[in-house]
């Protein structure tokens, strides 16, 4: 466990040591940003919308008889900005992107493509790890912003149509309890989630052995590890930020 953590940190440091080559490798980074960001957007939007809608219902259910519905906007938006947006988006990315990074790099490992890069004096860390990790670090917060907005829309639709909360009341309540710190805190978490997800995908990929079955296992392992890490980090960062 500690050895794993150690080798992950070493990989993170080695990747960071190549940061200065990002401008040179911008094409690789942009490719990954597209893969991680744009390609994940539809899914993030759908899940964000439904998350927002269900959290409005949930708030109403809990408020019933205790707290007036005019507070739904505040309660739901803060939950979205701090927790739901960042964590759910990160879990989607762990499933979609973390796993596919592990599968891609794992396949390259077992078919000696990683060795081929090495033999051509191309660092696999610079060529494969850096673009993926840096793209995830940039794109995850951006996806979270989209998720936050669409979730808020979802919550508003439910409140407005089913719970008789007018748009004025809903958004006033959002505004009155809006703290920049909530949103920023959520985005800072997203940066960490992105880094951890991509790092785990890359690490598990590089460690893959044993053919197609090995690649399959790597995919699952990357998803399980990164989702667990996201939730653990979420807790840890909460104690630090809030």
């Amino acid at each position: 466990m500690f050895a794993e953590f150690g080798s992950a940190s070493i990989l993170a440091f080695r990747t960071a040591s190549y940061t200065s080559s990002i401008p040179r490798d911008r094409r690789l980074v942009l490719e990954q940003m597209e893969h991680i960001g744009s390609d994940s957007l539809p899914l993030v939007l759908i899940i964000g919308l439904f998350t927002g809608m269900v959290s409005a219902w949930q708030a109403a259910y809990q408020f019933k008889g205790m707290i007036p519905y005019s507070f739904i906007g505040a309660a739901v938006s803060r939950a979205i900005f701090i927790e739901l947006g960042p964590v759910l988006t990160a879990l989607i990315i762990a499933g979609r992107v973390g796993a596919s990074i592990a599968a891609e790099i794992g396949t390259m490992k077992v078919t000696e493509q990683i060795d081929a890069l090495e033999s051509m004096a191309i660092s696999p860390i610079r060529y494969l790890a850096l673009p993926r990790i840096s793209a995830a670090v940039v794109m995850l917060p951006i996806l979270v912003i989209f998720a936050n907005i669409i979730a808020l829309v979802g919550a508003f639709l439910v409140s407005n149509f089913y719970l008789d909360v007018s748009s004025k009341v809903f958004f006033e309540s959002v505004q009155r309890f809006f703290f920049v710190k909530d949103v920023l805190g959520g985005l800072v978490k997203a940066v960490f989630f992105g880094a951890v997800t991509a790092l785990i995908g890359v690490k598990v990929g590089f460690e893959t052995t044993g053919g197609a079955q090995g690649v399959g296992n790597a995919t699952i392992r990357a998803f399980v590890l990164s989702s667990a890490m996201i939730l653990i980090l979420d807790y840890t960062l909460w104690t630090v930020i809030f």
């Binding site: 000696e112 060795d115 004096a121 191309i122």
Partner: protein
């Protein structure tokens, strides 16, 4: 120059290399033969530093590949072309991108020049019209030749071939043999060829190294190997002697 001294390597209890000593001078063409699984590919991977020895040293151009810093190892590798036994083409890239990756990484940006070099190297291995094809859509023999073109693209001083003609038809095999011979003669490339093909050995190698039970069992001229009366040498060459 390549110096291998007392090289030991085992994988979880499987002792593959058990004390290899081998020195290869610049400009030499050396064939390495031996039974399947005897460690030929493992030996080649030690020379470019993809595997680390358990004991012993591998020194290329004065750099100890087991201990040197990454930067120095990469500098040595830029002079080496490596043909992997399984081709190891990048399957997310076209043939052209595969062949030109090394050049692009060295800073070559001129698209026309890259395209020209690709055509030229593919022609050397008897291929054309496949620059835009993805590796998955090629036959095994074509993949091997694209991989060969890729390893030639940067015009390295050393070429290591892991079974360059395995799986190729006789005509293409002859063409590849001639190419390897040519590179040595004209460009003074130092070559190591791992092969099961004794015709290749006789034709292009001045020196043949026979690995047996993790050691260099024979090291000398091909004709001395074929004439040898040693039972193990004879046993290995039996099939070839019947054909020749």
């Amino acid at each position: 120059m390549i110096e291998i001294r007392n090289l030991y390597k085992s994988f979880d209890g499987n002792d593959v290399l058990r004390g290899i000593d081998l020195t290869i001078a610049d400009g030499e063409t050396v064939a390495i033969i031996g039974q399947s699984g005897c460690g030929k590919s493992v030996l080649l991977k030690h020379i470019i530093g993809l595997l680390r020895p358990d004991r012993g040293a591998v020194v290329v151009d004065g750099i100890n590949m087991a201990e040197a810093k990454e930067k120095d190892i990469y500098r040595v590798r830029r002079n080496i072309g490596f043909l992997f036994q399984g081709s190891a083409l990048f399957d997310s890239m076209t043939v052209l991108e595969n062949v030109t990756l090394g050049l692009r990484e060295n800073g070559e940006r001129d698209k026309e020049k890259l395209a020209r070099i690709t055509l030229e190297k593919l022609a050397l291995v008897g291929l054309r019209g496949i620059e835009k094809v993805m590796p998955a859509d090629l036959s095994g023999g074509m993949r091997k030749r694209v991989a060969l073109a890729r390893s030639l693209a940067t015009e390295p001083r050393y070429m290591f071939y892991d079974e360059p003609t395995t799986g190729l038809d006789p005509v293409t095999s002859d063409q590849i043999d001639a190419l390897i011979e040519d590179l040595t003669a004209k460009l003074h490339v130092t070559s190591i060829i791992v092969t099961h093909d004794m015709f290749t050995v006789e034709r292009i190698a001045k020196r043949v190294v026979f690995l047996h039970q993790g050691k260099v069992y024979f090291d000398g001229r091909p004709e001395d190997l074929t004439r040898s009366n040693d039972p193990i040498n004879r046993q290995f060459l039996e099939r070839y002697r019947l054909l020749a």
